[in-house]
Symmetry: C2
Subunit: 267 residues, 2 copies
């Protein structure tokens, strides 16, 4: 049986640069699907394009509106192919209207000097946390085992918040070997920072997200079905939008991806 | 007389969604123009499009190749216009080939609760630093007054580096009132973090940059020709690419923009 994530991001080829997919009830959010899965779908179109060069380095997705439940069209076009890098322009369309725009950079990476400057934070093991502890108010949250060790969703909405940082363990539920698409999706599991900072539940939704992939497919294969460590924090909240900067490490402490997003909020 | 920055980002309308511009020798980099000015040019096409809604919230530019000195074509297309947000797809083309892809989000922002979570670092005043101190090996550096207070370009390339953070004051030279385009350009003034981390000068160039604008035009007008405070740091260097996360505050301490980029490096 296919993993629900593979079903959710599945695309059928539909001519040159074109694919068709459909939203998956297993990853439903309050309105439309979990944005992480939509980002993964956009990246997936690039990764299964016959002209692909290399592996993902950067992905930016812009959520132009909530996807409607049902089918959608994806176009993924290599705008420029260099000797070792390739630039992609992606669009998702429903009923003739753009619902997502994206760009991606792929590259044939070469071994070089390297270092992880940002070390993973110290935290209790997933086993010490014991059980998933992110409330599953929406369906997609059940598709992850998320164990928050700092900055849980407030239990009292009393306006008492004073910081926006969350630290957590995460993996697919059921387990699934990590790949670029699932890593892109997990970059978006952090609930809206404005809820934590204000201890106030206001409407909020990601409008743009960027993921930088530091790991290659070899490192992802080493992680396999292991735990990922994530940390996310806002830098500024102002007039309807806040940003969030986040990191995703392997349990062994390798920085696999860094990610940023800007999120709309009300009030 | 026009400020050199205004000359560099000037565009002529060339039909629906189309503009023409040209590279400016005043902002020349080692190869092609300073990437910050190219990002500002892409944003400028959006801002002078007759269908524009609101002000910039997010901008992502992908440098597909170095621009050649000379003219270029810009297309800026509103892919989706909602009630209060608008999504843009931008491309710069030279001799029929894509040299830059970009997306942008603009929005009519409303006053809401807000807070700057990330405070500006303490540092000596620009006057205490005294004079510009970023070596002007290339022309564009002379178009800024940059006063680095932490993490200067190494003077000895001896492989001794151990951190990648730089903190600095900056403003246009000569002075120019801040606007969205010049803020986008200044998001890219930080020299390659790999030079600092390794105290080794290797070839390096930005391949993708994202800017989140926290300030509206009112806040930018308040800054006027004042100093901006910038801080940048890498998170990971691996197999030919590193990332950089940076913040830009006003001298009064307001977080105006946060920005991220991924940079190619050799060896």
């Amino acid at each position: 049986m296919k993993h629900p994530f593979d079903e959710a991001v599945a695309l059928q080829s539909n001519g040159e640069h074109r694919f068709v997919g459909a939203t998956a009830p297993a990853y439903a959010n309050m309105v439309g699907p979990f944005g992480g899965v939509t980002a993964a779908t956009a990246l997936g179109a690039v990764l299964q394009h016959p002209a692909l060069l290399g592996e993902p380095v950067a992905l930016t997705v812009n959520y132009a509106t909530a996807l409607a439940d049902g089918p959608f069209d994806v176009t993924a076009r290599p705008a420029r192919t260099n000797r070792s890098t390739q630039h992609w322009v992606v669009e998702i369309v429903q009923a003739g209207e753009t619902v997502l725009t994206a760009t991606a950079l792929t590259a044939a990476r070469r071994e070089t000097w390297g270092v992880d400057e940002l070390a993973a934070p110290d935290m209790p093991t997933p086993e010490a946390v014991g059980k998933p502890n992110m409330a599953a108010a929406v369906e997609w949250v059940k598709r992850y085992d998320i164990r928050i060790t700092e900055g849980a969703i407030p239990t009292a909405w009393d306006g008492s918040g004073d910081a926006s940082r969350s630290t957590l363990w995460m993996r697919d539920e059921p387990a699934r070997a990590l790949d670029f698409c699932s890593l892109a999706a997990m970059a978006d599991v952090f609930y809206p920072r404005v809820w934590l900072r204000r201890a106030t539940r206001v409407p909020a939704g990601t409008v743009s997200m960027t993921v930088y992939f530091h790991a290659g497919s070899g490192q992802l294969a080493e992680v396999g079905t292991g735990w990922l460590l994530g940390q996310a924090q806002a830098q500024a909240f102002r007039n309807g939008f806040f940003d969030q900067t986040a990191q995703v490490w392997s349990e062994a402490g390798q920085l696999l991806a860094t990610t940023h997003q800007v999120v709309y909020y009300k009030e």
